[in-house]
């Protein structure tokens, strides 16, 4: 299956704005982030506070819905999913 990943704001400084990735059935957001962290140096530090522990203020949406309200890192991927990654811009 193929999943499209879109990165926004400061994540674009360490990875492509958009990338399509292929996974086998059963892959999850955790699988996807591991793949991206291996592919883009510096991304893992932005996403994870410790190995396997995502920074809770990182926003990951699956088709517009925050994975925090799905199954977090265990949210399964489906063919055609659009996964958006963005940090919580805070300044005003």
């Amino acid at each position: 299956m193929r999943v499209r990943v879109k990165a926004f704001a400061t994540f674009r400084e360490v990875m492509d704005s958009q990338v399509d990735l292929d996974f086998v059935s059963g892959a999850t957001i955790r699988t996807l982030l591991a793949e991206l962290s291996g592919r883009y140096e510096g991304l893992g530090g932005l996403l994870f506070a410790a190995p396997g522990t995502m920074r809770d203020f990182v926003n990951i949406l699956k088709n517009g819905r925050n994975i925090h309200f799905l199954a977090d890192l265990d949210t399964t991927l489906d063919d055609g999913d659009v996964i958006a990654l963005f940090p919580p811009l805070a300044g005003g």
Binding site: D56, F57, P87, L89, A90, G92
Partner: protein, 254 residues
């Protein structure tokens, strides 16, 4: 028609050509609260005053510092040390004496938040931290007041207009509590984002156009690109979710 209203008509002639006298009248009757008078808030206050919003509340507990002057367009070097809310109010009154401007030097949450938005039609988020944003956005949702979220960092910015009952709330977009820190920030970005927030306020007031209410608008000044990202209301959200998941508000708890 009075002399004063003739004067106003002339003042707004070029934009009455955009949304009509009726639209201008609606803007004049709209009461805005601009929460935070920093980069976003000072830009928003400037353009809201020029557009003729009838009442503009400006809420900020801080005083002007030298590091604010790279982006906070209402302040001058001589203003360093002065209260932001009062100084911003004075600046926009000087630009448009026909509007009511109400400075508030209290911080969000030091008085009941719902009192801050009593008699307010639209809130513009010019805040710089999420504990305060959540307090105000949650209260605005519960009081059925639209909340125009904006935020900026570096060359990046974003806006979402949260319309109670119809769109996702701020908690659906930002589920965790990001750390409070000094954000790298530049005036051109807060300028873009603040202007987009007032654009949304004008559309809310006049009923024109399409609000960015079920999408997050993301600005990338480095690539000169903007994107719209669809967002969904979360049924289990404790602010905007289904009734059984809602938790009553506790004042002062973000």
């Amino acid at each position: 028609m009075t002399v004063q209203s003739d004067d106003r008509k002339e003042r707004y002639r070029r934009q009455i050509a955009v949304f009509g006298e009726e639209g201008q009248e609606k803007i004049g009757k709209t009461r805005l609260l601009i929460a935070g008078a920093g980069g976003l808030g000072s830009t928003a206050a400037l353009f809201a005053a020029m557009a003729g919003f009838g009442t503009i509340g400006i809420m900020d507990p801080g005083c002007i510092e030298e590091t604010n002057l790279n982006r906070q367009v209402l302040y001058r070097e001589a203003d360093i040390g002065r209260p932001k809310a009062d100084t911003a109010a004075r600046a926009i009154r000087a630009m448009n004496a026909s509007i009511d401007v109400e400075p508030v030097t209290a911080a969000i949450g030091t008085t009941p938040v719902k009192d801050s938005i009593r008699n307010i039609d639209v809130v513009i988020d010019g805040l710089d931290n999420y504990p305060a944003r959540f307090l105000l956005a949650d209260a605005a949702w519960r009081c059925r007041v639209p909340f125009i979220h904006g935020a900026a960092e570096g060359f990046y910015g974003r806006v979402c207009t949260i319309v109670p009952e119809t769109s996702p709330c701020l908690r659906c977009i930002v589920p965790g509590l990001p750390p409070v820190r000094e954000t790298p920030i530049i005036g051109v970005t807060t300028g873009v984002v603040g202007c987009v927030q007032v654009t949304e306020a004008i559309k809310l007031a006049t009923g024109s156009g399409v609000l960015i209410s079920d999408h997050l608008w993301l600005w990338d000044g480095l690539r000169l690109r903007s994107d719209r990202l669809r967002i969904e209301r979360i049924p289990t959200c404790h602010v905007c979710g289904d009734d059984k998941y809602q938790i009553p508000a506790k004042e002062g708890v973000p």
